[in-house]
Symmetry: C2
Subunit: 433 residues, 2 copies
């Protein structure tokens, strides 16, 4: 059971929402300047931030935190400078707000526009990683959004120091410092999930388990994904050298990433050619292969269980299945995939087209690594998250994931009765965007 938000949290969230109304009316230059002021203040507060992080690290050592967590928690001088440079880069991103997506004259003097506008208030929940607070806070302000930020408990001192600096920066801008609010307790983090009407989007940054918990316990839209079960299908008409290179990169270039493949599907008619070479290459790369019976007959040493097909290893492990044909591959992906990113290697255009049309994932790839599924690699300049939901925004989401749109209709006393009676007719004339 998720507890209701406390009166204190409700009051603070209401204040953030008030700030959102004001922030939503600022122009591009004002928001850009605010982000630069945040960077400036982070620089001036660097000493305090590094000291706070040091205190977090000491507490982590005393609590014998896992080394991986400590590595993510640690913020040294160069890492902080890099994060501040990142904030400045966000300031330079093109404004996602105020873009006209539609412009129609409904009738003389009655003009409809659809314009992008900020979402309003973001709720962001991190595990550890204090640098993510700077990144997401700058993306929020750049796109005209306020944010409730909840860092990991281990990073509490770091987050507080960063938050204090960010507020300082905003105080030297047109944005009210209350636009960024820091939540500190687990109780507040749970309360955030129930702030429907005050929070427009929740962005979780953490483990699959954390994301799934959030998705299961809030009615607020969640930008993110619990699973990244990505596939590569090696078709009978694949260039096998190319396929092996793509398969290795998709698995090993960064196995912990959500866009790394978990399952390799191999067309039966080339399996005897391809799999023995793949077994050697993956073995050399330190990857454990888990295969079905047909794959094991061709050299895969471990047996895959039914669970393997729906497991995100996030590690140097890969499940391997020999499939009869393209249709069998499509069926496997439809059944076990998480609609993240799936790829085919083939030399036949018709086969490629069928795969790219039939696989219902955010990313469908031909003859290239699934590791390209990333906002920076797509050229968005930033990545807010990767969404595996079906409705937009899906896939890697840049700044445009933090805006919505609004219809603006300007008339001169126009009333609907005149169109119902036939006195007037709609023109629906497209105007230049």
């Amino acid at each position: 059971m998720i507890p209701d938000p406390s009166p204190d949290l409700l009051a603070r969230a209401a204040q953030v929402r008030r700030c959102a109304m004001a922030l939503g009316q600022l122009d591009d230059g004002q928001r850009r300047q605010a982000v630069l002021a945040m960077a400036e203040a982070l620089e001036q507060g660097s000493e305090a931030i590094l000291a706070a992080n040091q205190a977090d690290l000491e507490a982590a050592a005393a609590e014998e935190l896992a080394p991986a967590l400590v590595a993510r928690l640690k913020l040294d001088g160069p890492k902080l400078a890099g994060a501040i440079a990142g904030v400045r880069q966000v300031a330079e991103l093109a404004d996602p707000v105020g873009r006209r997506q539609l412009h129609t004259e409904l009738d003389a003097g009655l003009v409809l526009e659809r314009l992008t506008v900020p979402l309003g208030v973001l709720g962001v929940i991190f595990e550890a990683r204090p640098d993510a607070v700077m990144q997401i806070a700058s993306l929020a302000i750049r796109s005209g959004n306020c944010a409730l930020l909840k860092g990991g408990r281990e990073a509490s001192r770091s987050c507080e120091a960063i938050h204090a600096a960010l507020r300082c920066g905003l105080a030297a801008s047109a944005v009210h410092p209350d636009a960024l609010e820091l939540l500190t307790s687990r109780e507040e983090s749970l309360g955030l999930l129930k702030l429907d009407g005050l929070v427009d989007l929740i962005i979780p940054r953490g483990s699959n388990a954390m994301v799934r918990f959030i998705q299961d316990n809030t009615r607020i839209p969640v930008l993110g994904h619990a699973d990244g079960i990505c596939h590569l299908f090696v078709d009978r008409a694949a260039d096998l050298e190319l396929a092996l290179k793509v398969a290795l990169d998709s698995k090993t270039q960064y196995p912990a990433a959500c866009n790394a493949i978990e399952t390799l599907l191999v067309d039966a008619s080339i399996a005897a050619d391809f799999l023995p070479r793949a077994v050697l290459a993956f073995g050399a790369a330190g990857v454990e292969l888990r295969g079905d019976a047909a794959a094991m007959a061709l050299g895969v040493s471990h047996a895959a269980s039914e669970d393997d097909w729906s497991t995100e290893y996030s590690d140097l492990i890969l499940s391997v299945k020999v499939v009869a044909d393209l249709d069998a591959a499509l069926e496997h992906i439809a059944r076990y995939g998480s609609r993240h990113t799936d790829a085919i290697c083939t030399g036949v255009a018709a086969t490629a087209d069928r795969f790219l049309a039939a696989v219902n994932s955010a990313g469908v790839y031909l003859n290239c690594s699934t590791r390209f599924a990333d906002g920076f690699r797509y050229g968005f300049g930033a990545e807010v998250g990767i969404s595996t939901q079906t409705m937009p925004p899906r896939g890697p989401v840049g700044l445009e994931g933090l805006v919505t749109y609004r219809y603006r209709l300007r008339g001169e006393g126009h009333v609907a009765a005149d169109y119902a009676s036939g006195v007037r007719q709609f023109s629906h004339r497209p105007l230049p965007l």
Copy 2:
């Protein structure tokens, strides 16, 4: 508690999803032809449909159904012919599928596209109104989606006859007849809410209470809105004649619509001029006004309670409040509005601009009736629903609300490691759409 879907429902939904994969690969002409074949089959089945509706009407009479429900249930010859003409119009709508929204060369030979694709499977829940089944089924097929359709119990015979005709039509097309599945029991309708992974979007067509129940009981995205609390603010700088005309139309042109206003906000400095005239005009139009103390002092006869400000009357009743200024109006709308459509009447551009920027509703209007908030009036050619959520799609949603997008990346053996090592660099060169 919502019961889990029955094995039978799960099996049927899985079959619909299989059809969705095939339907998603059809081209514009095939989908257009399928919709025309549906219209043809509805024509050929007209006699059976009208007879089934007659049986529904007789059952309704025996059960002493409310006259308003009976009116919505009734399908006579002209109404059916109109609905079939509507299906043919849907066939002629521009294809929402396959539109390229983004086209970028990431590097030589590595090209990214973002293309619109069907959502997959829609779940549609109606109250009564058998004609809506024809409309939404044609919108679904036109946009490449399958659908689970659940009509009202009162309309069960009509829905079955319509569904049989639609299947006949699909049998004479490239679309599998199982693309449209009819649910008949309340148990199935509840089970639908739990078909995450098999159903991509739920479209409720019915009362506010029904929509709210669905929103509260499913994790599947819901396209619709529970409340339509729309406001009109008459600013101190309004043309009072124009404002009165807009106010009357916004309330009385069709009071049961969600885009009719429920609350009139009047700037205090012109209230003494405006309200007495408004009281006369609304009185003549049969509208009951419920005012705050200041409005009552100027002639409004009934007192508004706190509940009135958040009540959607859907009737000839209007709450009236005198506010100190624009800011007070903005605050009232932020507090009580449902983010549907809100309007201002003013002659001052700066005031209009502030209102249009500050009100966070799907529609923000200047000097025109809120009744224009409608997909047909916006020129979309169809309306799937009106959404009051913050994330897109919001406001009146046309066919584009039934599609999502997919990233398609085609390479020639490109791997991420080459970019991580610096051997290759991204070009991110925009290509023509």
